[in-house]
Symmetry: C2
Subunit: 332 residues, 2 copies
């Protein structure tokens, strides 16, 4: 009988996680009860919010030492039953393990139109939905908007940038290092990309946004948000979504001064992607044609083998990924 | 020939202003040129934003030592001309002085329906428009909303509270000391009023908002905003408008952590009342009937005589006013 490999948190990371903060356990592949579906993991999504779960301050719950790491997966149904057939691809919260038992009401079939199927975790999945909800439904980005997107080579930022451009907006991104900046210009097609390691943010924002920033998609938090507010156009929209700058810290950072937000007549809204679950089909219907005709692309940062998931996650936490971080388990 | 009394800033206040920070000057009443209207001041509006002008960080410009203090007034036209007739009441930026020369294109007649005419500075003027724009146009307060309003006995807060109640919302206020709290309950009619000197804010917010705060009208800034965010309902709306907590300080205070705003899906918007000038008639048409039938009232905190304006302003800055602060010059 086969084994189920699981990646668990071994201890609370101090700051940016290291591989030793995780441990690999193996156990027999579990048997499915009558009301369960046994699923084999094919692709595992790694995302910054997982650091928030480890820190115990994420809406979706927490992960303590000893716990299996949680995460969304594309999995394959192992046996017929509960309305599913063997070999069928589904999206579920499979976690960092090779097999999972799922409640059939909590899993969703993956449309065969979505290819590669890992796109159901990225551009047509949670991170794409986050980008779409933020830029289309919350900020209502349109023609002529000047949009600033940090982490523009990341899973959410890269899709957000492309969505904005299809709507006639001008996008300036930010990324760490010349390689990522070049990628943002050439693959994603942003107008300009600020290198956060090498360039002076205030100067570059002045240069690229002479009339101010109309829309800021905050995937980062921290001091960047206050810096951006200084350059915000009047009535500028800010969608607060991610906190990459503080996920690895103990303390939450304060936000921009309310006086600054008043002067700019800023419109700020918090985004939690779970709120948009009911509109997922609408989002897919809108984005799928643009993906099929290659208007929008998704760069994936793929790591092969579940045992390499900890290192892939640590790279993500160090900001070294390019595109959506996926662990590919298809070959094990 | 009569004299024009003027109140000027004498030196930059340290913290809360004192009477010595102002000086009174007299000069002959000026003569109007052909394109000017000489106006006699009847009522002068005193407002917290003036401290921001003194500090040099208000949108409307700054006031330096030696400068005439600026402010909105109800004035009386002295001589016929430029389309105005002697004795006509107008609203203008007359400043802290007994007479002013006005550009006829910059002054607005006061409707005879507005009685007392000082209401054109308060509930039917700038502070009322601020309250209306914040609660009706920005927060869109409606039936069932649980609204929290600090400085609820102040010029903006008291009107905002009453507007919310006419729209079916439940309002809890905050004020300094038992007398103001009693006034808020009895005259304004709020559901409850937190005494910011005597009561524990967090406990009281929990008690009065078991389901969270739907709308917060931030007239204060400072740490209160972060405390309120902790108790915000999901999708709670925050209108940022005033900064009373920091007007007397050198440094701007940071705002609430973006992580907190994300978790609550907060909707935050900055309000600058000047943006609503074009909608002033719409606001007056909506509010005037409610004032005429006494549904909405305006408490005025009246000081007689321009020479007492500095002390009235210092009282306002110490939070000792109750209602709209007006200086009455009609008897001098």
């Amino acid at each position: 009988m086969g084994q189920n490999m699981q990646v668990c948190l071994s201890k609370d990371p101090v700051g940016i996680p290291v591989v030793d903060d995780f441990e690999i356990k193996t156990s027999p592949i579990p048997d499915a009860a009558d009301d369960q579906v046994l699923c084999r993991t094919l692709y595992l999504s790694l995302d910054p919010y997982m650091r928030g779960q480890i820190a115990g301050r994420h809406l979706s719950g927490s992960v303590a030492p000893g716990d299996l790491m949680r995460g969304e997966t594309i999995s394959e149904v192992v046996n017929d039953g509960s309305g599913f057939v063997a070999g069928q691809l589904i999206r579920c919260m499979g976690g960092w393990q090779s097999y999972s038992l799922q409640d059939p009401t909590m899993i969703a079939p993956v449309s065969s139109e979505i290819s590669p199927s890992s796109f159901a975790l990225s551009v047509l999945g949670m991170t794409g939905l986050t980008a779409y909800a933020g830029m289309v439904w919350q900020a209502e980005v349109g023609k002529g908007d000047n949009v600033f997107i940090p982490s523009v080579t990341g899973a959410v930022g890269s899709v957000a940038a492309q969505i904005c451009m299809t709507r006639g907006a001008r996008v300036v991104g930010m990324a760490g290092g010349p390689e990522k900046c070049l990628g943002a210009l050439e693959s994603i097609g942003v107008d300009a990309c600020i290198d956060r390691f090498e360039e002076n943010l205030t100067e570059k924002l002045e240069e690229y946004f002479p009339d101010g920033i109309d829309v800021y998609f905050d995937l980062v938090g921290g001091t960047l948000l206050s810096d951006v507010c200084q350059r915000l156009a009047n009535y500028g929209r800010i969608v607060l979504c991610g906190l990459m700058a503080e996920y690895n810290r103990k303390e939450r950072e304060p936000g921009p001064s309310p006086g600054l937000l008043i002067g700019k007549r800023a419109q700020v809204s918090g985004l939690v992607v779970y709120d948009y679950e009911a509109r997922r089909d609408e989002f897919i219907d809108s984005l799928l044609p643009l993906i099929l005709n290659k208007t929008i692309t998704q760069q994936e940062d793929v790591t092969f083998g579940l045992s390499n998931a900890p290192e892939a996650f640590c790279r993500l936490m160090r900001g070294e990924n390019y595109g959506k971080v996926i662990v590919d388990l298809t070959q094990e």
